[in-house]
Structure formats: C-alpha cells, structure tokens
Symmetry: C2
Subunit: 414 residues, 2 copies
C-alpha cells in the first residue's frame, strides 16, 4: 500500500513548519529546497555585518528532518508547477508527481524594474548574499586605508542602505557601530569613525509598518548611532560610483539594497490570480482557487492583514499541513487565522523597537525583548549556545569575530 | 625623527610572529597580506569537512595587531621585490620602500606541471579552498541521492584524496567519518556508508616524514575508519570523471589535491639561489645571501632539517625579527637554530599520531595530545571556547554543524 504523495517546495519558515507538522502523517513527503539549509533569516544581517558565522544561522535540512521516516529531502530547484498534470518540474527536467502540494518558495530581491542596479547594490536573502555584503563592507575600509585621493577615500567611506524596513534599519545601525566601535584604532591613515552611513527610505518614515511614534524613535536611535536617515527620497540611479536621488547625488562605493522583494516566479506558473506584488491570492484555507490540492504558505501567499515575517510564515506552513491532512481524510479544510504576536526590529547596540498588541517598546527594554526572542527561536541548542557566546563577547569587547573577507564569493571587487 | 622602515610580507605564522616580536621596537613597521586574516592552517581541514566555521580558524590581522602603535597593516598583494632599489611592488603598482624586509609569503599548490588538474582537484590553502571542498563533498552526496544511474551514483559516492601527508590523512579520515556517522539515516535512496574514500600516496607509506611504525599505525587507523589506503601509486591523470593511476582508473566525481606545494613566486624575484622546491637558500641567520637586510621566514626559507610546519615558521619569524633589530643596532646577527617540539597529525575520531623526540604515540593518547595542543594554540580566547564547544558537540552527537553548501564560492558544480 502506498501513501498519498505530498510535496513541499521550499524549506524556509513556511516549508519547514509544514514538514514538521506532517512528521507522523501517513503520507510520502518530499521536501525540495534549492539550498541544503534552513536559514534563520531574522539573523542574516548579523552574518552580513560579521557578527555571526554563516553556519550559526543555518542548519542542514536533511539533518533537521532526518528522523522523519516518511520524509525525503531533495536538494534541487523547482522551476515550474503543472497543476493539471499534478507535477513539479526540477531544474534538470526531472518531474515529480504529487497528490497534495504546499508551495513555500519565499521571495527574491526586486529592483523595481532596474535590474542593472543589482551588481552595485546586493540584497540580503541568502548566505551568499550575506558573505558578499560582509566582503564589500570590510573591503571598503581596507580600500580607503590604501587610497591617497581624498575624494575617492570619502567614497570608500560612504555606505548607503536603500530601504528603511527592518533589514535596512538593522544593517545601517550595525554599519555605524562597526565604523564607530569595532574598527576604532585599527587603521593608521583613515579614521573609521568618519565613515558615513546613509539610510534612504521612499516612504515618509522608517519602519513604515510600525506605529508612527516607534518610527520616530527608531530614527532618533539610528541618528544617535551616527546614521544619516533620509526618509521620503526615491532612488533614481545606482552605479559603480554612487547613488542618485533625483537631483541629489551621493558619491559612494558601497550600496546595499534592502528596499524591495518580489515573489517567487513559481506563483505565476500556477495560472492562479496574483496580487500586484506577484503573490498568489489564496482562498481562506490557503489553497489556490480552483486547485484545492495546492496550498501556499509564507511570503508567496497574499492574505489580507498578514505581514511578511517569520512567525506568519510558520503559522501558514503549519496550517497548510493541517489542511492537507483534512483534505486527504476527506474532511472540510479550515480557514487560516493569523495570530499577531507582534513585530520587532533591532537597530543596534541596546536599541530596538517592539510592538505587541497595545504594548510599544523602544530602546534598551525593546532590545532585551529582541535578544531573548531571537536566541529562543534559533533552530537548535548548539547554535543558540554559540550565538549567545558570540554576542556576549561582541557586547563586552565591541568586537565582531567574523571579520573575514572571502574573495570570489560572488562578483569581484568593484 | 623617523624610524627605520621594516616591511613584513605575509601574515601567516612566520609573518605574524615576526610582527609581534617587533611590537615595541623603534621601527616603522608595515605588514602586508593578500587576505585580511591570519589563518590557523592546522585546523583548516575542519572547515573543509564542515566541523568548524570559517571565522573559527581565522582572525582579522588588523585586529590582532591593532594595539601595536608602530604597525600599519595593508590589505594587498606584493608582486615583486626589487632588492637593488629596496622596494616591494604591490598588485596595483604601488611601491613601498624598506630598510629591512622579512619575507614570509608561504606556499601555494603545485600540480607538478599539470595545472589542467586544478579545476577537478582543489587543494587546501585558503578559507575559500576550504569552503569549495566543503561544497563539493556535501554536494556529492546530494547528487548521489538524486542520481538514478547506478554507475554515476557510485562515482558521486567515491572520494579520492591525492597525497598522504598530514592534510591528506586528516581529510580522508574525516570524509570517512562523515559518510559513516554524520550522514547516517539522513538519506532515503543512497546509503552514505557505502561511500568509498581512497587515499593515494606516491611514496611507499602515508605520512612519509614520520617514523615507519607510526606510518603503519596511521594506515591501520585509517583503514579502521573505512579509508582505502593506496601507497606507492602515482596519479597520472585527473579529469571530470575520475583519476588515473597508470593503467588503473577510479571513477569519481570528487578529488582533493593534498599532494604538492610550491613556494611563493616571490622568492624568484629576489635573484637569490633557490632550492629544487623553489625555496630561498638562506644564510644561517635567515638572511638572503648578498642581501643582509632581507630575511626569509616560514615555508619560503630552505633550511636543512627544518620541516614545513607551523611551529618552525613561528620560530623563524621570531628569529628574523630579532636579527632585524640586531642589524639596525649594527650588532652581529645570530644563526637560526630550530627547536624540534615534535610533529602531530590527526586521523579521525580518537585517532592520531604524535612524535616528540623519542616519544611516539598513536591512537587515543595521541589524539588527546593533538586536541589539547590545537585548542591551546588557537589564536584567541573566544575562538578557543567556541571551538571547544563545537568539538564537544560534534564528539557526542557525531554531528558537524557547518554543513552549509554555499554556491558560487568558486567555480561551479561539475
């Protein structure tokens, strides 16, 4: 007797929580991801800013799911879904049939139609992205130290972060901390403290999804750390020598893109209705209209009032798995209801903002909530312990131990 | 008043120990390295085999030497030395003048005139090399899991290590451990335990610099771990599908080169006498014949009876620095004398070989000596602590936490 075949595409928060919810189910489960690891994305900015090593925020999917006897993990990339034939197609042409499908492929960067900006402004989605940003930021200080032309030196010491959401705020705050504290006294020709970190946001305030008073506090805390915050400005050009904001121009050699995300192109292969951001307009039970056997979880799902954050993806993943079981048992599926446990964003040393229902925190208390929550949710015990040691070390010494420039990770020095 | 200018090229064990010996000297010291980090090379194989993260075995040179007020650290590559003009030339054409020079650039891989083997058989010298090897080995198991052709699957599950010195023995032993223990139970279509690890050595026994009885014990311990040890065989060809050993052929997709090292090409730019391996035949005081103001330390120095290991490089670096000070004080320089504290190589779980004077150890006792020595000599407190936790974790769980395949680190999937 063979069990129904369930495929999960993507093993981020949505996919992994769905897979674990099916651990004991009588299904033949296949989990496909184009990386071999589940990534704890809320701490990815720490890898980019040399505070944590790459393995500290990632775990091998095969290992995490190794004890689930009903589960096969495949390292591969799903290129398209054929809902009529009920198959997914992999990058090498392999086809896999399913009885139920959970799509949780996540997002990618979007340069708002300006893909030519990509080489000059890497985004932060993968471990490779994080190592590339780490390399560029650390290399910029090294290049400045060797540069004799003052204009060029200034450009190497200017860092522009485009996008004032949680990732942008975290990166800008940490860049400022690196310049002011971590590198202090280690250069002879430049003073790293003169480095300029500019955070550009198109909306009228940073952290747009947060209450306005927390946005204001976040901006204040960023400025205290030394970040120049420029809300209400649109980027109109990015090239090897700087960023254009309409008539204004910032000469800089390092630009990080934290502005836009685009849904996985897999959504479009379904032939289902999409929203403006390319996300699938799912039914109340997270299924694809017209295809009750396909569910969508995480960033690819367009659900009114549900933010694109890890806790939401986990809830959707778990819910999609539950509905798969209902469907296979020929019971009615259940509408998804998002439970809002709040949102938090860190800004830098001792500074963060937290909103939980009516509770709004900022500053040190918010930072403590952030710290405990992030260590608590890290994937396994070992990582949690090592991350705690790394952070305690970094906190007292201002040092960041992962200050390793690895060449040739992607692209090359500008 | 300006102090004499001293340049140190390379910040491995030779260069770093020389730099630290000059910390309080009245010199204007410049340390140039083409990476931004000092690398604890004896543990690099652990990064390649997913046991440690890259930052665990590397420290930012700028940070290590940050408190030396007389020292400038430059991230750059010295391309040539002009002993007549007393300048070094950097990759961008910059020239730096010196009064005294210490050359400690280390080695690179040598494919014995077969550079065409390089893409198929990466060596292990840098962090990038280690991540590339990690990626290939972990990817090979993933490819095997997805391969339906039994012949091809076998090739993906065959790993050949060329060279039976310390690095080759360490890599082969750890690959076998990964196949037998780490990955156990995590695949559904292949059994990782059927993976074949072959260690090929041209000499008649592994670990040729060790006493024959230790070589025999090392081979025994490797075979117990599941490694096929093939001494006395020369590699005659390496391509995308396997390794040729004269008439014999091993079909395999993963080959690691641990066979040959070549001296830095900087030695040749000196116009000084070189030995067959391209190392500089230094005078008794480690200076270059005809150039008393240039000293050579570490792997580039050819000194009778001194092995190419970290403790020897450190001793030479410290000695070269001392002689620089003698020279500047117009005192006679001192001949270098190597103090032999022994050699050790690890083979795998609970297995190593150690030779210290007349003491020869193998097995568990040797492994304990190796463990204590390597943790003790790790560069700073934090790394030591994290490495200890990582290893304790790995020892009890058989797990290797750095099982992260990073794409595009260098080259691409075969």
């Amino acid at each position: 007797m063979s069990f129904p075949r369930v495929i999960i595409v993507g093993c981020g928060f949505g996919g992994l929580w769905a897979a674990q919810a099916l651990a004991k189910a009588e299904v033949e489960l296949t989990v496909i991801d184009r990386t071999n690891h589940h990534l704890f994305t809320p701490l990815l900015y720490q890898v980019a800013t040399a505070g944590l090593s790459a393995p500290s925020v990632a775990g091998a999917i095969r290992h995490i799911l190794g004890d689930q006897r009903n589960t096969t993990v495949l390292y591969g990339e799903v290129r398209s879904v054929d809902p009529a034939k009920r198959i997914v197609r992999l990058e090498n042409g392999d086809e896999l049939g399913y009885d139920c499908l959970i799509l949780a492929p996540g997002t990618t960067h979007s340069y708002f139609g300006h893909d030519e900006w990509a080489p000059y402004a890497p985004g932060l989605k993968t471990l490779e992205d994080a190592l590339e940003i780490r390399r560029r930021v650390l290399s910029a200080f090294e290049r400045a130290e060797r540069e004799s032309d003052p204009q060029k030196r200034l450009a190497w010491l200017t860092f522009v972060v485009v996008g004032g959401g949680a990732t942008g705020v975290e990166l800008a705050g940490t860049f400022a901390e690196i310049a002011r504290h971590t590198l202090r006294g280690e250069f002879r020709r430049i003073d790293p403290q003169t480095a300029r970190v500019v955070l550009v946001e198109g909306a009228s305030r940073v952290l747009p999804p947060y209450p306005p008073e927390l946005s204001a506090k976040a901006q204040l805390q960023l400025e205290r750390l030394g970040v120049t915050v420029w809300p209400g400005r649109m980027v109109t050009g990015i090239d090897a020598d700087g960023v254009s904001l309409g008539a204004e121009r910032i000469a800089c050699k390092t630009v990080i893109w934290a502005a836009g995300v685009a849904s996985s192109p897999l959504g479009a292969t379904l032939g289902a209705p999409l929203d403006r951001a390319g996300r699938v307009r799912v039914a109340a039970d997270l299924s694809v209209p017209g295809h009750p056997e396909i569910f969508v979880a995480g960033d690819l799902a367009s659900v009114e009032g549900v933010p694109g954050i890890a806790p939401a993806a986990k809830q959707m993943g778990r819910h999609a798995a539950k509905n798969v079981l209902h469907l296979l048992a020929k019971r009615a599926t259940i509408p998804f209801r998002y439970r809002d446990y709040g949102q938090l964003a860190t800004i830098g040393r001792n500074a963060a903002v937290v909103v939980m229902g009516k509770v709004k925190l900022s500053g040190f208390s918010a930072w403590l909530v952030w710290l405990v929550a992030h260590i608590y949710f890290l994937i396994n015990f070992r990582n949690r312990l090592v991350v705690m040691i790394d952070w305690a070390w970094a906190y007292w010494t201002y040092q960041r131990y992962a200050r390793i420039i690895m060449r040739g990770v992607k692209g090359s020095d500008k």
